[in-house]
């Protein structure tokens, strides 16, 4: 017997395995996380918790450590993402200008991308070490620092958030550069040529032609890197473990510490749920405001 499916049904059938995967490995754990946030379970006895309503949320929001971690998460994202965007776009424009000869440079530039964040965190911990770090000694040798211990990269509370951001920028700028470079390849050459003929200078073409056409690519990069930066854990944990005195503790570290080290499953889940909701909202806004999908079709 021959069963005929319409296009919609066939599409749904093809989506079914992926949907099942998402249901089991994404939706179920997420629902369990949200459920845990309304109970006061401990990691040692997760099923023994009692329903406490919004108590976990209230105590998390009232905690100065939560507000501090939230502020530092926003600060870290605002440091990392713009730096990577600017440096990545600049590198991509440079590669684009060089053309095919940039292949070797693009390859070398992508090397940090192949390094695990764990390794990068350890590497930069040693490079930035206050007493033995190569960075301080180089600055001392070239005469910028009088004393190689002058800059306490990882122990100065006013500096540490910028210091822990360095490995992230070093690791991921090449990702931004490669994605933007790929986007630049998709810009029709005749549009740029027409702008040149009309007398537009380089930066005018960049501002009025290139960047607007790169908007979908930039939106994707912004969302991906923004969410990645906000949920950074390993790079910061390896370097400072959130110290000194919480000066580099971001929300992901606080979630880990609350859930795993203190065993407070309920409060850890509450913080994680709030974080998840916030990231989802930010992503939606970023896509809607930067990418504006379908705007071209609506204008036509």
């Amino acid at each position: 017997m021959h069963v005929r499916l319409n296009d919609r049904a066939f599409a749904l059938l093809l989506l079914a395995p992926a949907a099942l995967f998402m249901l089991v490995l994404v939706a179920y754990p997420l629902l369990d996380l949200v459920r845990n946030s309304f109970f006061n379970g401990m990691l040692s006895a997760p099923d023994a918790g009692h329903f406490v309503g919004l108590d976990n949320y209230a105590s998390a929001i009232a905690s100065p450590q939560f507000s501090g971690a939230l502020a530092r998460t926003i600060l870290y994202t605002l440091i990392v993402v713009p730096c990577e965007l600017v440096l990545g776009i600049a590198a991509a424009l440079l590669f684009n200008a060089i053309g095919q000869r940039s292949a070797i440079f693009r390859t070398v530039f992508a090397f940090p991308l192949m390094i695990a964040p764990l390794v990068a965190g350890l590497l930069w911990k040693f490079l930035l070490s206050d007493n033995f770090g190569v960075i301080n000694w180089i600055l001392h040798w070239v005469g910028i620092l009088r004393d190689p211990t002058s800059i306490s990269w990882l122990s100065d509370p006013t500096l540490v958030m910028f210091s822990v951001a360095i490995p992230d920028i070093w690791l991921t700028t090449s990702f931004v550069a490669l994605v933007v470079y790929a986007g630049l390849q998709g810009i029709p050459g005749d549009i740029l040529e027409a702008a040149t003929i009309d007398g537009a200078a380089y930066f005018q073409r960049l501002r009025y032609v290139t960047l607007p056409l790169l908007r979908p690519v930039l939106a994707v990069v912004l969302v991906i890197r923004g969410v990645d930066a906000a949920k950074t854990f390993d790079v910061i944990w390896l370097q400072t473990q959130g110290g000194p005195a919480f000066a580099s503790e971001v929300l992901s570290l606080q979630i880990y510490r609350t859930t795993i080290r203190f065993g407070d499953l309920g409060q850890g889940a509450a913080i994680a749920t709030m974080f998840l909701v916030a990231m989802t909202v930010v992503s939606i806004v970023a896509v809607a405001r930067v990418w504006r999908p379908g705007e071209g079709a609506r204008r036509a």
Partner: protein, 430 residues
């Protein structure tokens, strides 16, 4: 038919010989053919691997070690407690975690005979008992002692200069004043003002130095009293934090950025020859790398004494059996074997044991110069365990370490910091 019968018998014999199911070990008293998964900290692996080989020969069981960093032991055992997956049969854990995991551990009361208890340090026996049962058997014990550069201390010019300046002979420090004097004496700078030698490494990112000093100053306990109530801002704790702050901020005997100095950084500073002294865990004596500039130039001495005498917070580690283990009988046999042959661990790089008899067997032996100072420190009149409360990790992470870090960052009054810490502890129910 006869052929089928012969084949059947042969099959049974071969199947029996090839069976992987546990059988009785040679010696007859414990199941054999079992693989035990033992969770250890990286340093502990060395202490237990030789024992494991002997255990395997004696019992026919295999030990599979899972090595993780210090915090990883807590994290993995927490996950095991939550999941009850049976991933680990034995874990070697820090004493401070015993209250957290006590309800999840198999009682080992039968192992604690009178002979065993008399051969262990009193604090080990006390700590092993949680909720009316002995839930862990000590594997090794440790405490912080004084490490110093014996080459500098024995240099005649240094000795003469020190005597001229301070009026007493240069020797391993025994008091707070001597430690401070010697640290200041050995802090040296070159013409450009850059430090060439620091008088003392200070572990500003950990809580142990502060706790040790508080006991030496005569506090009845460190951080919490016997009822679990905060005493962190009593006079002795204030003296302790002030002393630590003065070393870093007033006398500048350590690098200026010790707020990020964890144990690894402290050890590295000393082993690289950049510090004349450090207060550090006794096992580090045997962990000095063979290519370190200080090889052959390190002396060890008991922890310094305050007004209450020598004091330190011991750091015993215990072998425990999670209730989720599927091989509890073999696990218990392993723990007993580890106790009975505790002296094996002396040959490991860690060089630490838990029993008096094992320690005493190497006092005076070359290569074990750290053992006598360690024994003296463990027996010190002010030596006391850290508080064993279920939320100790939270206290360390949220209160103690930030307090010490802020103090050694130089800009806050130790009294104000301790008062704030006291408020935090009270808000946590202490």
């Amino acid at each position: 038919m006869r052929r089928v019968g012969i084949i059947a018998v042969l099959f049974v014999l071969v199947a029996g010989a090839c069976s992987s199911s546990a059988t009785t070990a040679p010696g007859g008293s414990v199941t054999a053919g079992v693989t035990l998964n033992v969770l250890v900290e990286a340093g502990g692996y060395g202490a237990e691997v030789t024992l494991a080989k002997a255990f395997e020969i004696a019992t026919g069981n295999h030990i599979n070690f899972v090595q993780v960093p210090y915090q990883g032991v807590y994290d993995k055992l927490s996950a095991e407690m939550s999941s009850k997956a049976g991933a680990y049969d034995v874990a070697t854990i820090d004493e401070v975690w015993l209250p957290t995991f006590a309800s999840f551990l198999v009682p080992l009361d039968s192992l604690f005979t009178a002979d065993v208890k008399s051969n262990l340090f009193a604090h080990e026996v006390e700590v092993a008992q949680q909720g009316g049962h002995y839930v862990g058997m000590p594997m090794w014990d440790n405490a912080e002692i004084i490490f110093y550069r014996s080459d500098l201390f024995s240099d005649q010019a240094e000795q003469a200069n020190f005597k001229a300046k301070y009026g007493y002979d240069l020797a391993a420090p025994t008091t707070w004043q001597q430690y401070s004097d010697i640290a200041q004496f050995f802090t040296r700078k070159d013409a450009s003002g850059a430090a060439t030698l620091y008088g003392s490494a200070v572990t500003g990112a950990m809580d142990s130095d502060f706790e040790n000093l508080s006991l030496q100053a005569g506090s009845p306990g460190t951080i919490l009293d016997a009822n679990g109530k905060s005493i962190i801002n009593n006079a002795q704790h204030q003296q302790a934090l002030q002393y630590l702050t003065d070393l870093v901020c007033k006398y500048k005997v350590s690098p200026p950025n010790v707020a990020a100095s964890d144990w690894g950084a402290t050890q590295n500073l000393f082993n690289q020859g950049k510090a004349a002294m450090m207060m550090f865990w006794g096992h580090a004596y045997r962990f000095i790398p063979s290519d370190a500039p200080v090889v052959g130039k390190v002396g060890v001495a008991p922890m310094i004494a305050g007004s209450a005498g020598i004091g330190a917070t011991p750091g015993p580690w215990f072998n425990v059996i999670p209730t989720s283990s599927k091989h509890q009988d073999v696990a218990q046999a392993w723990i007993k074997f580890a106790y009975d042959h505790n002296d094996f661990a002396l040959q490991a790089p860690l060089g630490l044991v838990a029993t008096k008899s094992a320690y005493n067997s190497v006092v005076g032996t070359a290569g074990f110069e750290n053992i006598k100072p360690l024994l003296d420190t463990l027996s010190g009149p002010a030596t006391k365990d850290r508080p064993l409360v279920a939320d100790w990790q939270k206290i360390v992470d949220n209160v103690l370490v930030p307090t010490v870090q802020k103090a050694v960052a130089c800009g806050s009054s130790p009294t104000d910091l301790l008062n704030a810490a006291d408020q935090q502890l009270k808000s946590m129910g202490h």
